[in-house]
């Protein structure tokens, strides 16, 4: 330490920490595959937070570790340390820097949230009136149309009902009822979510979207699937003993596959319509 000036060490450490943090931010692979238009927005945001978090982690833990090693009491030294009480500039600095970081994250998260469709007052656009469940009490809340789909009616509407311990999906335009969600890729899908008994929560980890199904309060979720495949639908809100088994799937089809699925199911379901309606209010 005697030869190299402190400034240079700090500089090198700073560059190293920055590089490591940026790398960890981009290569953490902590999240599952992205399968909705919203997912990349959330992931980029998450990765930025991971990068900032890693940097802060390294700096603070580094300082702790350094102190613990460097400033441990030496054998035979029973005295006190230099009585440094504080440093006004330093304290201002470490109030302002986190302040700037959190305000930045706050602004960024408002931005991401708007992009995801969170700021949309769903129900004001009046495009889904026919298909909405008869819930006159209040406007539904949830994540709605993104700036890209703003003002346009969704291309597919599905009514989702949560009950102990299953999800029911009703396609109002084609009279199909299923226990598994099927959607075409690249289409703007609107889910009208309701709950029969207790609160449930509709979550597709690969979509990065979650919305509670609340008894007495309609909610909505609007998304565009971007990757074909089968993904889990998980109930995320404690809904009773078998909450953990309230799982099903969402299948994202190519448009042709989706049409085939729809026709098959429309036909298949005609004879048993009464039965399905009975369990699906």
């Amino acid at each position: 330490m005697k030869q190299i000036p402190l400034g240079i060490i700090t500089l090198i450490a700073g560059i190293l920490i920055t590089l490591i943090s940026l790398w960890v931010g981009q290569n953490n692979h902590l999240l599952p595959v992205q399968a909705s238009a919203q997912a990349p927005l959330v992931d980029n945001f998450f990765n930025v937070m991971v990068a900032i978090g890693t940097a802060l982690f390294l700096v603070v833990q580094g300082a702790i570790l350094f102190s613990v090693i460097k400033f441990r009491r030496r054998r035979g030294d029973n005295g006190d340390a230099l009585p440094i009480e504080g440093s006004f500039p330093l304290e201002i600095l470490w109030t302002i820097i986190p302040g700037i970081i959190v305000i930045g994250l706050g602004v960024y998260s408002v931005d991401v949230y708007t992009e995801m469709g969170g700021m949309d007052e769903i129900g004001h656009h009046g495009m889904t009136h026919e298909s909405m469940m008869a819930q006159p009490k209040s406007n539904p809340i949830g994540i709605g149309s993104t700036p890209a789909t703003e003002g346009k009616p969704p291309s597919l509407v599905v009514n989702v009902t949560g009950m102990q311990y299953a999800w029911l999906f009703n396609y109002p335009d084609s009279d199909v009822n299923t226990g598994e969600l099927h959607v075409p890729i690249g289409q703007d899908v609107l889910l009208n979510i309701s709950a029969n008994d207790v609160i449930h929560s509709f979550w597709v980890p690969q979509f990065r979207l979650k919305q509670d199904a609340i008894p007495g309060q309609p909610t909505q979720l609007r998304f565009t699937a971007t990757k074909t495949g089968t993904y889990p639908i998980v109930c995320a809100e404690l809904c009773g003993g078998y909450h953990g088994s309230m799982r099903t799937s969402v299948v994202v089809h190519t448009p042709e596959d989706y049409d085939r699925w729809l026709t098959e199911n429309r036909v298949a379901q005609q004879p048993e319509m009464d039965q399905t309606v009975a369990v699906n209010p």
């Binding site: 706050g106 008994d197 929560s201």
Partner: protein
């Protein structure tokens, strides 16, 4: 000093008729001495900690495999609910505020007792029946709706057990309101005149902020729970959706208390940190005022962040945004404290006593928990991980890392003062090592579980998560084992440990100026404050230097 007589607890205790020492059985009576009450709180809390910990072990054994093959799913939920409830309401809050607060506040401000000693005893004695109600509820199926007790689930499952749960929480809530009132008055009115506000130990500032917070928020929780009780038992429908009730309203009432509740748990711990670190680093605390004011700032901002628990329920967009920003802002005063403690270590002469190890362990874990908390504060990301194991991982970093480590640090630090005996340091280190490793192994992988898609509060889960869960369970077993050296050490040292001097750590706050354990009314003659609580390294008149451990 040797002739002992039982105090008449009903009589007004005057300076002359009290004995100099308490007998063991005094701890089982309605004693009104703040030190006895503090120890009563601590011991009771540790018992509930053990029970809650056994429940956690059962939970983790169940989660070792994807199927519900160890506990019946309903019983699992009862364990999960009561684990959380016991840990929050019967462990951290009573130990940190009731235990340390009662034992230390009068000693630290130079008072002979709390402002209202009988009220203090009443506040403590509300706790055992509350714990009994919680445990008794298992005979009626156990409350199963999580420690949050959201309706309608809490309205339809195990009604008797749920009602007992509500009564238990209302009892501890009452206890904490009475306690808080007592702390505020004691600190404001009974501080020795020679102590300036800026000479008051930081633990007192923390308890002051905590008490204000408790007074403002606890009644709201009580209100919400009483309405729930009415819905369950008396046919009202505040929260029944099919009868015009609003289920989201309950969440607002609940979180208006329960978010601040996490600061209730953590602020006293911050106070403990601010006492332990300077003593064992032999340096004044860095930025006394910043640390004191940041407690007050956390207390105020903490009242405006509750909706971050409701980002995925029925919350209008503007609310999600407002609460994202306010939540993120709490990170700033919290950061100020962390940096202050790190700067206190920097340039110190650090003694690795068990107390200090736990304090440093807390610091490093709180950094992880705090960073995780910032990510959760942002609505768009929270929507993905809300109600998942990411959250379980995060709050255990804060609650286990943040609080349990702090309580352990406090015990190792004040044990000599409380009992007059020293604890064994070697076993303290073993205890620390096991706890530190166990905590990371249990709770770090949980973050990934949540990110990948495992929801919380589940007895059965998708088999793809089995590997990571297995790791968490091994960690939990290490944590379970880690309490053994602690309890053996504490019990053995209490009975046979080497006698402690009045001020074994050469600390400067007032509690170290009396005997260990302190005499019944704390001091023969009330102390006069001649120096600040953290004046380490200054050789002013009238304060002990590190070489001469004399009392003031």
């Amino acid at each position: 000093m040797t002739q002992l007589e039982t105090p008449k607890t009903t009589a007004v205790v005057t300076h002359h008729e009290v004995p100099q020492k308490w007998k063991w059985y005094d701890y089982f009576t309605f004693n009104i001495d703040h030190k006895v009450i503090g120890i009563q709180y601590l011991v009771t809390a540790f018992i509930f900690y053990l029970i809650g910990g056994l429940m956690a072990m059962a939970i983790r054994i169940e989660l070792n495999t994807p199927d519900a093959d160890f506990l019946d799913p309903n019983l699992y939920n009862a364990f999960m609910t009561n684990h959380g409830t016991l840990m929050i309401f019967m462990w951290i809050v009573p130990a940190a505020i009731g235990g340390f607060g009662n034992f230390l506040i009068p000693l630290m401000v130079g008072a002979r007792d709390m402002a209202f000693p009988k009220l203090n005893a009443i506040a403590f004695w509300l706790n055992p029946p509350a714990g009994a109600l919680l445990l008794g509820s298992f005979f009626f199926g156990g409350s199963q709706s999580g420690w949050t007790a959201y309706p309608p689930l809490s309205l339809i499952t195990a009604n008797t057990a749920q009602s007992m749960w509500i009564l238990a929480i209302v009892l501890v809530g009452t206890s904490s309101i009475l306690g808080a009132l007592n702390f505020v008055v004691t600190i404001l009115k009974m501080k020795v005149p020679s102590m300036q506000w800026t000479q008051m130990p930081l633990f007192c500032w923390a308890i002051l902020a905590t008490s204000v917070l408790a007074l403002l928020s606890t009644p709201v929780l009580a209100a919400g729970l009483v309405l729930l009780l009415f819905d369950i038992n008396f046919g009202t429908s505040f929260f029944k959706p099919d009868a015009g009730g609003n289920v989201v309203l309950y969440q607002h009432l609940f979180w208006f208390y329960s978010h601040p509740a996490v600061y209730l748990m953590i602020l006293p711990i911050f106070g403990i940190m601010s006492e332990v670190i300077p003593v064992h680093a032999r340096k004044p605390i860095f930025g006394y005022k910043a640390i004191a004011y940041s407690s007050l700032a956390i207390c105020i901002i903490g009242l405006f962040v509750w909706v971050h628990h409701m980002f995925t329920s029925g919350t209008p967009p503007w609310m999600r945004m407002f609460f994202t920003i306010s939540t993120l802002i709490v990170a700033v005063p919290t950061g100020v404290k962390i940096f202050g403690w790190v700067a206190t270590l920097w340039g110190g002469k650090i003694r690795f006593t068990s107390a200090m190890l736990f304090a440093i362990g807390l610091l490093s874990m709180f950094v992880v928990g705090g960073l995780g908390g910032v990510t959760l504060g942002t609505a768009p990301f929270d929507i993905h991980v809300h109600d998942t194991y990411y959250v379980v991982g995060h709050f255990h970093y804060v609650l286990f890392g943040g609080s349990v480590f702090g309580i352990y640090a406090g015990i190792y630090h004040w044990f000599p003062k409380m009992t007059g005996r020293m604890m064994n340091e070697t076993w303290g280190r073993v205890h620390f090592a096991l706890t530190f490793v166990g905590t990371h192994l249990t709770f770090l992988p949980m973050h990934q579980l949540g990110l990948q898609g495992m929801p919380r509060r589940v007895a059965m889960y998708d088999p793809q998560f089995a590997g990571i869960n297995h790791l968490c369970t091994i960690g939990a077993m290490i944590l379970g084992i880690s309490v053994i050296p602690f309890f053996l050490n504490a019990i053995w040292s209490w009975m046979n440990g080497p006698k402690a001097s009045d001020n074994p750590w050469e600390a400067l706050t007032l509690e170290w100026t009396t005997t260990s354990p302190p005499a019944i009314e704390n001091w023969e003659v009330l102390p006069v404050v001649t120096h600040g609580p953290y004046d380490y390294g200054r050789s002013d008149e009238g304060k002990p230097t590190a070489q001469t451990a004399a009392s003031v």
